[in-house]
Structures are given as C-alpha cells and as structure tokens.
Symmetry: C2
Subunit: 422 residues, 2 copies
C-alpha cells in the first residue's frame, strides 16, 4: 500500500482536504481554504477530484452570511470500506468500517490457538470474505485490511517475539500471507497502538495534546496519541507498557526481562493465581489451555462481581500493578487523558478503573500542574479491530507525512473540527 | 517572549529559513527553495530580512554546476547571544552561547542551597551580568535567558513540587523575578528536557527518529527528542523517569509515590548508602548538608575508581536500578539512541554506561527489531545550561509551531542537513 503517488504534494493536499471534510462533518470550499491555508485553485482542484472519485458529496448550502450561500461538502461515508482484524491467540475479531470509521459489520471467531499459521490464515481469509459478503459491499470498494497483533513487530518479518502460545507466528510473514489469501492490501501493526487509534476514531480519547490508551487483552500494552497522531517510535514498537519493570527483582517474563507488569499482573497471572487458590481453582480450566485464557479470566471476574473475596483480592492485586505502570506511562509522557481499553478491560475494567484513578491522583508527578483523567472505554472489546481498519483508511487517504505537515490548527481529528466550521 | 508576530506565516518562514541555514552551514537561495518548498519570492524576501537584521551573511559562491555560480548564505554566529542557566541546589551553571549554539563563556557558582529565593535571584543577576561582561558582548545582542531547574514546572507559578532542599522555591515566580532582576526575557523549563536539547544542539543525540537523554544531576530525569523536536507532553513535564516505579513495595519518595528510581538509586541514595557503610562513612559529609551532595557523590565515585569494593557495590546497585528505568523509557518510547548526561553522569558515568548497555541489550522488548545505542555525553556537566540557552534561540528564532509544520525532509537539526545541500 505504499504507492509513490502518496508522497506527491498533490496526493497529500487531496488527502488532507478529505480528512478535514471527514472531521468537520460538513464544510464549504471557503471553509477548506481557511482551514488549510491552501489556495482557492488548489482546493477547487482537490475537491473536484474527490467528487469525481465519489469520495465526497455536495450536500446543500450553508446559511447565508450576506453573500452567496456556500455549497457544503461532506464525506460519502459508503464510498469505501476497510477491514480491521485483531489477531490474538484467545480470539480473532473482525470489523468492516466505512470511510467515516463507523462499524458496519463485526464478527468474533476462535483465536489462533496452537494451530499452524498457514491454517489460520486460510480460515481468516474465509471469515473476511464472509464479513464483506454479509453486508453486501462490493469487494472493489474495500480499500484494504488492517491486521493487528501482539508486538514487537518488524516490517519485513511480522512478529519478532511472541507470547508463548503464539511462538509459531514468530518471523512468519503474516501480512504477506494474509494479503495473498484475501487479495487485499494488508497493513500490519501492534494491537495496543491500534486500540489507541480505534479509541481516537471513536471519539474516546478526549482533546488533550497527549492521550494514551492502556490496553489489556491477553497481554498488556499502550497506544500513545500525540496531537491527534498515533506515536510509533523508531520501529512502530512504542508503548510497550506491559514490559516495564515494576519489581526489579520480580519473576522472569516471557520477554526475557524481570518484573514486567504483564508477568506480575496480566490475565495469565490472574488466572494462575486463581488456579493456585483452593476456593477458585474450580472456576478455571485445569488444562491451562491458552485458548481458555480469556474464558478463565472472565470466570475470575464474574466471581469477583459475585463478591467472592479471593477473586476480588487477586484482581485488585493485578490492578495495583497495572496502576503503577499507568503512573509510569503518565510520568514519562505527561499524559492528560488515559482510556482503559481492550478485551480484558471490557470484562474487568470496573475493578481496575478506581485503582488506576487513585494511583494517578495520588502519585502522578506533575499532579500540582494538572490531573490525569482516566476513563473506561465504551468500545473496549473492539477498539483494536476498529483501529486496524482506521489504519487502512489513514494510510490510503491521509498519508502520515501529510498529516504531520498540517499546521497545528488542522491537527487530524481535532475535536474542535467535529462541528461545521463554516 | 511570546510576541504575536511569531505566529504569523511570515515570521515562521523567516525562522524556518534561518534554521535551515543554521543546520546547513552554508546554503544558496536555490538550496533553500529546494529544501523548503517555498516559492522563490518568499525565500528572497525572507533572506533579505535576515541580511538586513544581520542574522545571516553572504559568503562567497558555490562551485558552478553549469549555470551562474550561486551566492552562499551562512549564519552570522556572533549576531546574537543567549544566556543559559541551570539552577540546582548543588550548583548553578551559566553559559553564554552564540546564535549557532556554541558556548562562548561558562561559569559555575554555588547552588541555591537553603537560602531565600530572593537572595539567590539577586546573586544570579550579578553572575549573569558578569558572564556577559566577561566576553565583551553588547547586552543588546543578548536575546534572553533560559532558566532550567528540577520539575515539575507550571507556566504561571514556577516549580510546583520540589526536592526537599528546594522547598522554598515551590510556587515562587522564579522566571518573573529573574526577568525583573536581569532585564532579560526569561524562558523556564525542566533541567532534563533542557539537557536533551543541549545534547541535540551539541550533536550528541545521533540521527534516530526518537532519542532520549537520561539525565542525572541531584535528581534523575529524561528528555525526549522526537524527529528533532523536544517532546514536552501536556504541561512541559514529560520524561519524569526519576519517578517511575521500579519496586512497587519500595520506599516512599519525596514526590509522594513509592519505589521511584530516584529514591532507590539517585545520588542522595548513593550518598546515604555510603554514610551507612563503615568503610565509606569517612568520605561523606556527616552533616548531610544538601550543599555537599554533589561533592559527596563525587567522593564515592572516586573511591570506586580507586577500587574500594563497597563504593563500587553501591554505585553498581544504583546503576542497575537506573538501567531498569532506562529500559522502561526505551520500551515506552521505542528509543533507538540514549545518551547519559547531567552532572552526576559527568562524575560517575563510566560505572553506569556498561550496566545500562547490558540491560538494554538483554531486555529491550523490541531488541529483535533494533538495538538501543547508549553513549556517555561529552558535555554531561553543561548540557542543561546549553539546552537552556538553545531554548531561547529556538523560541526567538524557530517558533516551535513553525518547526512542527516543516515537511519531514526539513526536520529541524536534521543531521543530513549539516553538510551543504547545494
């Protein structure tokens, strides 16, 4: 999906104009000139191309402000679609979103488990085709597929280090194979980064200049959004909050380091603690199947909601470690807004939320300057897949370089632009 | 120093052009057009203004490439100056830099100690005047003063939370008072962020897209540079790596949280451990004076260099915690280059360097994708003051918004531009 056209100034201004129309809802050509600083001729040309391609519609006229009433433009939401896939060993979530980022179809299927990657890829291709067919979208209108999985990822070889149940995927060219199987261009990214982007597109990231999504699926991670753009680091592997050390002499983690918060407090640690507890062992799968991790974690959470004190204690211990990692993230990034997202927070977020909030109120280093607002996502289970689809829309329609080049008042997805400008 | 002119497109293109000339060394007008994408008319106008203000000089002609030989432009390094001040309780470091960021004068004086801020401010004003007078620079050529101190800082009230010895400075309007006392505009920032900027201007930050400076003075912090720009977070308080938790059940830190790396491993912890050791107690000040912290830390470091095993053990224990915090920083930011800087690394960096390197080689999460290069700064003692002066040059000459608006190939301080483009 890296055609040379994307780096030309021409493609960039078209993409920038499209994104401003998307964020604004409706906007006139004059509004676009004001918002971009581009010339009238450039805007006219870009709008003409967007109309020709069917990506934008003319939609009535603005209220008169004295002169001629201006023609309003809006995104043609159903002109294009994108598939988002969240691959994890515990489950695979698929969404189909339209150009505006709205989810038009969603399915969840069994995870990668311990099966061969090539077998899973063939199954995924069938599930993607079924997803698209279900809503009757012409395949030619599907721009591509965003695939997100646990990191760290490498552009050429996919996952370079995997949680134990996904070892077979290490250095497997997952993006290339899935592209071949589906016939769609594939972009690959980290699940937590995608979750942040999904929250951002869903309006769940607030308006702070730096926000973060603390993600918990089977692993723990974070996605960071700076000025409306997901921050990726040198290799796309930023935000690995699951592997920050919270006990220097703690247990060894599968990543090779010691005392990682994921090893001490992730869903696998919660389930292991439940398995070791006489009162709770009956709730969790004795076979320690990786497939059952999400179900076992949910069982412990239900027990806590029923008021079983051992289950509550285990989850609260996990939450305190997660809260410490959240404080670390906030202190390093000077974050003003944090959303808890991902499948495990969809299940047990209500236990974690107050403990994370308390830790940040009490311990955030710059608390004398500002607080850190913490919220639980409304789309915690699907945020990574939504973000995966958004990645496709972004890379096709808003080349990242163009977005970074926008003046500050044009920051992509700036909530101030969510209302019409003109 | 926040004049409205800075936000006009006009001021921005002038500033952007100036910064490209600075980074390029010498460059022609055609080179500027190519590098900026601005029109010939805009470049001509901007260059004319820079020549009129004496900020830029014409300096001979480029080799002919067939046509007319092009006039080369270069920065007039001695047209303007900036003062940088690093205020800490252990010492105050002053530098005077020219427009190119080169240090033309430097002095170090006793720290803030326990004295009243108003007394220290008056002394500082005298020391600043002496610094400027020493090199015979006309005061009218001094653009302003950058002041850096331990965070967290608040724009309106200065330091909002201070290490114990600096409690009197809490909520003291240090920037306003120093501006009144010196007659210079003052910009205030965090010492670790300034150290990163100082390293960046001194060429010590490499060419990675995300680099960090791990700072140790009397406290521990970090400055983060993303794409050539210092990352500041929501309130200018990013990079507080000294207050990441490395022992969830560790001792309480002065900041109010538990298990912070600064509390476990900072110079005060090193000196306290030496004081508690029979063999080393003779080396350190029994009165626990805050003034003597830097001297005491240096005494322990010298003992380690002499081969005293207890001193080595204490420093290595500190280094292991610092290394864990460095790994946390690298995992969250996906850092490719890390420089150890600040007065305490100037003293004991050789002990810390191999231990930080080993931790990152062994435990950096994305080590399968890339390594993290770690170096010891050549300007560790003065980097914060150099960065403080650079802040003044940046805010006067390269408004941050303008810099953020530059296309990627114009990233401020891009090392690729250090050689002439034309």
């Amino acid at each position: 999906m890296n055609g040379p056209a994307r780096s030309t100034p021409h493609a960039s201004s078209k993409a920038a104009v499209l994104d401003i129309i998307r964020a604004a809802g409706t906007i006139s050509r004059v509004g676009l000139i004001n918002a971009t600083g581009l010339t009238g001729a450039t805007i006219s040309l870009a709008v003409r191309k967007l109309l020709d391609e069917g990506l934008v519609l003319e939609t009535g006229r603005a209220e008169s402000t004295g002169g001629k009433r201006r023609v309003l433009l809006q995104l043609n939401h159903n002109a294009r679609y994108a598939v988002g896939v969240h691959l994890d060993h515990g489950g695979i979530t698929y969404v189909l979103t339209n150009l505006g980022g709205a989810v038009v179809a969603r399915i969840t299927r069994p995870g990668a488990g311990g099966q061969e990657p090539s077998v899973i890829i063939q199954r995924m291709a069938g599930e993607v085709a079924a997803l698209i067919a279900r809503v009757g979208v012409e395949p030619s209108r599907v721009l591509g597929l965003g695939l997100v999985s646990p990191g760290p990822l490498c552009a050429s070889t996919g996952m370079t280090r995997t949680p134990p149940p996904m070892r077979k995927w290490e250095d497997y060219p997952v993006d290339r194979e899935l592209a071949a199987a589906t016939g769609l261009p594939v972009v690959l990214d980290n699940d937590a980064t995608a979750a942040a982007l999904g929250e951002h597109w869903s309006g769940g990231m607030g308006s702070a200049s730096t926000s973060a999504a603390l993600y918990m699926g089977t692993g723990i991670g974070a996605g960071i959004v700076i000025g409306g753009i997901t921050y990726r680091g040198n290799s796309g592997n930023a935000g690995e909050i699951g592997h920050v050390c919270v006990e220097a002499m703690g247990p060894e983690c599968w990543c090779g380091a010691r005392g990682c918060v994921e090893a001490l407090a992730g869903p696998a640690a919660v389930v292991a603690a439940a398995r070791a507890d006489q009162a709770l062992a009956r709730l969790v799968d004795a076979k320690r199947s990786h497939q059952s991790l999400a179900a076992d974690f949910a069982a412990v959470s239900r027990a806590a909601r029923r008021g079983e004190p051992q289950a509550t204690a285990i989850l609260e211990r996990s939450a305190r470690y997660v809260a410490v990692a959240a404080r670390t993230l906030a202190n390093i990034m000077d974050v003003e807004f944090l959303v808890l997202t991902g499948p495990s927070f969809a299940i047990a977020g209500s236990v974690y939320l107050p403990i994370v909030r308390e830790e940040l109120d009490r311990g955030f280093f710059a608390r004398g300057v500002h607080t850190v607002e913490v919220r639980l996502s409304h789309t915690a289970a699907t945020a990574p897949a939504i973000g995966a689809a958004a990645m496709v829309l972004q890379s096709e329609l808003v080349p990242l370089h163009a977005a970074q080049r926008l003046p500050e008042n044009l920051t992509v997805d700036e909530p101030a632009l969510a209302a019409p400008i003109v």
